[in-house]
Symmetry: C2
C-alpha cells in the first residue's frame, strides 16, 4: 500500500524520487541530518519548495537541525510505494525492453517485472536477464489470473495500440508506454508515456539557446 493517500501536487510527486536519490548518497557518506537548504542547493530547487514537498509526505523536521536522513528516506520510500514493490508485465523484449528487464533499478523503485511477452518466435521461450519471455497470446489470461495491474509497453509503434488493448483485456489498469503514439483506451486506464521526446525537445531548445548565447549576434543576412 502506498502511504498517505492525501493529495499531492503532481510536480511535487515527480520531485520526490530525486530527493530519495540524494538522501541515499548522503546516507552513504554518513550524514545524519539534512536541511531543505542543503537539498535545494544540491538539486537546484527553492528550499521552501522542498519543504512543501516533504510536508506532503508527512515528514517532519526540526528547526535549526533539519530532517533525519534515515527517517526521511523511510518516509519517502513508503510514500512512493518502493517498500512493497508492484508486479508488472513487459511486452516487447527488444532493445529497450531488454535494457529495462536487465535493470535491477526498477525493483529498487517499486516495480517488479515478473514476466515478459513478445510475438516473435525467436524471442518466445528465451530468458532475458532472468525474466521468462512468453507468447503474447498468454498475456490476458495470465494477467487476470495473477492479478497484475501494470503493463510496460516497449513494442514498435505499429503494434502498440493492439498490444495495449490486449493488456486492458487482461485487466491491466496502468500502462507505461514507450512507443511514440497516443494510445486510445478506455478513460479509466491510466497511461504514462515515456516522454523521451518531450525531454529531448527541452534539451535541444536549451542547447540552442546556450549556443546562441556563446555566439551572439549572428545576422541571417550578411
Amino acid at each position: 500500500m502506498i502511504g498517505h493517500s492525501a493529495k499531492i501536487p503532481l510536480p511535487s510527486l515527480k520531485r520526490l524520487p530525486g530527493y530519495v536519490h540524494f538522501l541515499r548518497s548522503l546516507k552513504c557518506e554518513g550524514v545524519a541530518t539534512v536541511s531543505t537548504t542543503a537539498i535545494g542547493r544540491a538539486l537546484r530547487l527553492d528550499p521552501t519548495q522542498v519543504r512543501k514537498d516533504l510536508a506532503c509526505t508527512g515528514a517532519e523536521g526540526r528547526p535549526r537541525v533539519g530532517y533525519r536522513v534515515d527517517d526521511l528516506i523511510v518516509v519517502l520510500e513508503e510514500f512512493l510505494g518502493w517498500r512493497n514493490v508492484s508486479e508488472a508485465f513487459l511486452v516487447g523484449a527488444g532493445h529497450l525492453g531488454s535494457a529495462l528487464l536487465g535493470y535491477e533499478g526498477l525493483r529498487n523503485h517499486g516495480l517488479d517485472v515478473i514476466a515478459a511477452f513478445d510475438s516473435h518466435p525467436a524471442k518466445v521461450g528465451q530468458d532475458v536477464h532472468g525474466v521468462k519471455v512468453l507468447d503474447i497470446e498468454r498475456l490476458p489470461g495470465l494477467a487476470r489470473r495473477m492479478g497484475v495491474h501494470i503493463g510496460v509497453l516497449t513494442v514498435p509503434v505499429d503494434a502498440a495500440q493492439e498490444v495495449a488493448e490486449r493488456m486492458v483485456e487482461g485487466g491491466i489498469l496502468s500502462i507505461w508506454n514507450f512507443a511514440p503514439v497516443s494510445l486510445q483506451l478506455p478513460e479509466k486506464i491510466f497511461v504514462q508515456n515515456g516522454e523521451l521526446y518531450a525531454q529531448l525537445a527541452v534539451l535541444l531548445r536549451r542547447t540552442e539557446e546556450a549556443v546562441s548565447r556563446k555566439t551572439p549576434s549572428t545576422p541571417e543576412v550578411a
Copy 2:
C-alpha cells in the same frame, strides 16, 4: 537553427512532440486537415490548450477547417529542431546506452549520436549499431574539436559525476542524464534528467488509486 526563438511555456514545449506523432499518423491515413478539437480528443487535452500551444510555434489555422496536417508537421518539426539534427556523444555503451544507439528514432527527433565512449576495454573499439565506441579519455578533445555540444550519459551512478565533468571539460553545454543522481556542474550547463523514476512514481500512485477504487472500503482493522 531552431525556429521561432520566442519564449514558449515549458509544458507547451513538452506537448509538441506528441502533436507531431499524432499528425504523422493522420498523414499516413491521408487526412489533410485537423482541428484542435480532434487533436485534443486523441491526446486527451483541452482544445484551447492545443490551440495555445500551436500558436506559440507560429502555426496558423482556418476557422471551420482547422490546420493543414502537412504544413503543421513542417512548422512543428522546424520549431523543435528536428529538421537539422544536432550531433551528440553518448557515454556508457551498456544496456541502456546500446538501446539508445540502436534507436533510429533519435535521429528522427533531432538528435544524431555520432560517437559513443566507454571506459571498459571490452567495449572500446566495438561497433554498436553502426556507432564506434571510443575510449572515454578521448572525449574532451574530440568534443572540442568537433564542436559537439550535447552529451548523453548512460553510465552507472558511481561514474556519472566524473563523466559529466569530462563532458564539461570538452565544452559540452547540455547533458541528458539517465543516471539517478543530481549532477553538480557549473550553473551554465543544462542538465536534462531521464526522469524514469518520476514517471514511475506517478504510475505507481495512479495504479494504487485505481486498485483501491476497484476494491473499496478496505478497513485496516477488522
